[in-house]
Symmetry: C2
Subunit: 328 residues, 2 copies
């Protein structure tokens, strides 16, 4: 357990370092405290002993270690009030009735990226509460048609499909079957329901039933797949810790790789969670702060990615605010 003064010093070093990105020396700290630089140096040495601080070289100032940041977010950090201006801008987005919820989300995270110079990620997926409302087909020509899928929450998706040698009659029949038997099913269960309720009987009505079944199956599969939105990637270029091209390429590569994002960013926990450096699976030189969100028609993850030297308090407050606002 740290003494009061050690806590103070650790906190000062971290907040100073977050702001300046340069190692912090004892002189700077002792001005804030009622003691000499020598005393601070002694304390720093103990904090380093505990693994909370590091030096970049023998005679440099101190830099927080990952363990130091962890201690900071667990014990020292105070929630930060949202500043008036930030709050106002976010309010404007959420009060805009014109915007669909998913647009609100990306808009507000775009704003946060601009304000903080970090990168935001929204992962969205249809939720269990999202039920199939109806499907619809619009023929284009003999071989091509559009399938439109609508959920009860107003989420719509369409896909152009090619079905050769299948009469419009048969397609209509299939659509009716689906509308009769599947409507009302949570969207994430449609696939299995299709398989057990439609597949066995479709042969009675449709000649090329395998092809037709596969086509519709594919449409629903696409529908329930996740969408990924990475905002403010270029902000990475503004962070001094990412000042070499290799590193930038590395991180940009990861942020462009959808699979990697889904695997490493998706959050299952409803709290605001902080993953510092090696604690996160995306890249050990960044911190990821993220949370799961639920709305009536979708659920997913919102995440902020930045350097380990991140304004933790501010980001947590912003994420809390957004999560709260989209969930109502």
């Amino acid at each position: 357990m740290l003494t009061e003064r050690q806590s103070q010093i650790l906190k000062l070093i971290i907040t100073e370092y977050i702001q300046s990105a340069r190692p912090v020396g004892s002189n700077l700290i002792c001005k804030e405290l009622n003691c000499s630089s020598a005393t601070v140096r002694n304390e720093m040495a103990s904090l380093e002993e505990l693994g909370l601080l590091e030096k970049t070289h023998t005679s440099s100032g101190r830099v927080p270690s990952e363990k130091g940041y962890r201690y900071y977010v667990d014990h020292l950090m105070k929630p930060k009030e949202l500043n008036g201006e930030d709050m106002l801008k976010l309010q404007i987005i959420f009060n805009n009735q014109q915007l669909e919820l998913s647009d609100c989300l990306s808009e507000s995270l775009k704003l946060i990226s601009d304000m903080t110079n970090y990168t935001s990620i929204v992962l969205g997926g249809t939720s269990h509460d999202n039920k199939l409302k109806e499907i619809n087909v619009i023929p284009i020509d003999t071989d091509n048609l559009i399938v439109i899928v609508v959920t009860d929450t107003g989420h719509v998706e369409n896909k152009k499909v090619t079905l050769k040698n299948v009469s419009l009659e048969e397609i209509k029949k299939t659509v009716n079957l689906i509308n009769d038997l599947i409507v009302g099913t949570p969207i994430d269960e449609v696939s299995s329901k299709l398989e057990f309720e439609i597949k066995p009987i479709i042969g009675r009505y449709v000649k090329e039933h395998e092809m037709v079944y596969n086509t519709f199956y594919q449409v629903f599969k696409d529908f329930s797949s996740k969408n990924i939105n990475v905002v403010g990637k270029n902000n990475i270029l503004k962070q001094p810790e990412f000042n070499n091209i290799e590193k930038i390429r590395d991180i940009f590569g990861k942020l462009d790789n959808n699979e990697e994002i889904i695997n490493n960013i998706t959050e299952e926990n409803n709290d605001i969670n902080i993953y510092i450096g090696k604690e996160n699976k995306l890249d050990e030189e960044v911190t990821v702060i993220k949370t799961k969100y639920h709305t009536k028609d979708q659920e997913g993850t919102i995440a902020i990615v930045g350097p380990k030297r991140m304004e933790y308090d501010r980001v947590v407050t912003l994420l809390e605010f957004i999560k709260e606002n989209i969930e109502k």
Copy 2:
């Protein structure tokens, strides 16, 4: 006019520089030609006199100037055969019947980006030949509904809109009006037709006619807006000329700015056009090679962006191939 030997030297310098990105000295060249390095130096001096070559400092090798590249693409460059492997990969994309045309385009440009390490851009827009086939509404609840717009080529778009205090009756009436009067209109003329044919009469059928009109107007406006697809942006990080963060931020900023892309990339000419350095409006340190394309349902621009030190011959051939393939 250049002598035969001068042409040869210029060409050698440019191809060598394109490949190595380092100033080219006389020694390297004289090995390819039957003459001494002194002779080559003399010729280089004349080529510099003509503004076709430059030096980075008094005793460096030569680097092509923009005028040099221009001369090269106008007079020296031979069209390059598509190599078998590249060709094969592209063929696979174009032969895939499953893919929509627009997907083919982005797929093939993604491939080109990977092969060349340049960045590709596809600008698409609905063309004049693209006609409104039908519109459709699906009510979600009392205030919200989905508007679905379909064109005769199978392009579909949907939008969720909120219309308070408007009865379903009135909305259906509006939809019928549009389907009766506007269907068959080229998509880029729908807006004006709405204004002149629907706006004057809608008041007869709908109480809140202004709001309803505006809503539909907005839907069509969104529909006909251009879509932009920038692929392989990260390749910029691989080019040695873009090795400082400032420059990268600059270019990334431009490539993320949709307005800038539309204004500076859109091409009106059907040939493959090459814009070297200051000749292009995007950024004076890059070369843009681009062309306009037409398909039955859309037209737009495809462009490749890379350093001035670009493999001109290869890119031109690739673009020609793609243009040809999507246009049939």
